[in-house]
């Protein structure tokens, strides 16, 4: 096996100290440390840092977030309910439009179908952009002031 670099030696030493099985034989690490003063010094410093950090504990705050979370969950649930209702209306509208289109086919009134194309494109565009074409923009008035 080739001689490991200083970085590999320190990394392995730290990982072994953290409980990970060594991927480089410990004899190779020890042989490197015996001949490399810089690695011995770095290992000593990093072990000291590890020991210092291991002696610390994380703060576990006692804040209660439920009073803030509960109303937000309820409003999300209500909004989800409204969304479902909206989807039913859209589905109902789409079914009616489809029925009308199907009704036109036997009469061969294909000209009416062509007139619907721009409307379908416009509705699809607004749906794609997630924009409500009937929304009143209050900023329009404010800009003129």
């Amino acid at each position: 096996m080739s001689e490991p670099t200083c970085q590999i030696v320190i990394m392995e030493l730290m990982a072994t100290g953290d409980g990970r099985p060594p991927s480089v034989p410990i004899e190779v690490i020890n042989a490197h440390l015996a001949s490399c003063a810089a690695c011995r010094e770095e290992a000593r410093e990093l072990e000291g840092l590890g020991g210092l950090l291991d002696a610390q504990r994380r703060q576990i705050p006692s804040d209660d977030l439920w009073p803030m979370i509960a109303p937000r969950l309820k409003s999300k649930k209500a909004a989800a309910g409204e969304k479902t209702t909206l989807y039913y209306f859209i589905l109902f509208g789409a079914s009616l439009a489809l029925y009308k289109l199907l009704e036109l086919i036997p009469e061969r009134r294909i000209d009416v179908a062509f007139k619907l194309i721009p409307i379908i494109i416009a509705v699809s565009l607004f749906a794609f952009l997630k924009e409500n074409p009937f929304k009143i923009n209050p900023r329009l008035g404010a800009d003129t002031e």
């Binding site: 970085q7 320190i10 990394m11 730290m14 990982a15 953290d18 409980g19 990970r20 410093e45 990093l46 000291g48 840092l49 590890g50 210092l52 950090l53 291991d54 002696a55 610390q56 504990r57 994380r58 703060q59 576990i60 705050p61 006692s62 804040d63 209660d64 977030l65 439920w66 803030m68 979370i69 509960a70 937000r72 969950l73 309820k74 999300k76 649930k77």
Partner: protein, 176 residues
């Protein structure tokens, strides 16, 4: 109430059952979010968002797993999303430690110095080193939590420790 019972009730639409999960894990979650974001105020916002996202995603939760590791993935996503839009906290402004609990091994001043050094690390580095040392997570657990291979955990930890040692040296921190 057990987590599995609360989760089952939540999946059935019972928002009150979610209170059990929030109260059981909020302290731990705020601690972890503070570790990533570096301050309590942002952590409280991130944890609230994470619990709301978790409630909405509960239908995708595999009941055979533990709740918190699953929730942690949502929490860290919320933290990093929030961190992108917020100004980084200046380590010099630190008056009291928010990540580290008071400890008998270091004085309050040393604890502040240590936390200052942690605050000067990136959020990713701080998350990794605090999970390893403050929570004692193994390389296997760290790899799972962070979604990275164990070899990457090993090399990243090595680099973070070196950076932290350098920051502490700049702050003249001596703990012998």
């Amino acid at each position: 109430m057990e987590d599995s019972v609360a989760i089952k009730k939540c999946k059935e639409g019972d928002t009150d059952a979610f209170r059990h999960l929030v109260r059981a894990y909020q302290g731990q979650a705020i601690g972890h979010a503070t570790g990533i974001l570096g301050n309590r105020e942002d952590a409280l916002d991130a944890v609230q968002e994470a619990f709301i996202d978790a409630f909405q995603a509960l239908n995708r939760f595999d009941g055979s797993r533990r709740f918190y590791p699953w929730f942690y993935v949502i929490l860290r996503n919320c933290c990093y999303k929030l961190a992108r839009g917020r100004k980084r906290r200046e380590a010099d402004d630190l008056e009291h430690a928010e990540i580290l609990a008071p400890s008998g091994s270091v004085s309050p001043e040393e604890s502040i110095s240590l936390e200052r050094a942690l605050l000067e690390l990136s959020a990713e580095d701080r998350e990794l080193i605090t999970l390893r040392h403050l929570d004692g997570l193994s390389y296997e657990d760290l790899a799972e939590r962070l979604g990275i291979p164990q070899g990457t955990v090993m090399s990243r930890l090595y680099n973070v420790r070196r950076r932290l040692r350098k920051k502490l040296a700049q702050l003249d921190f001596t703990n012998e």
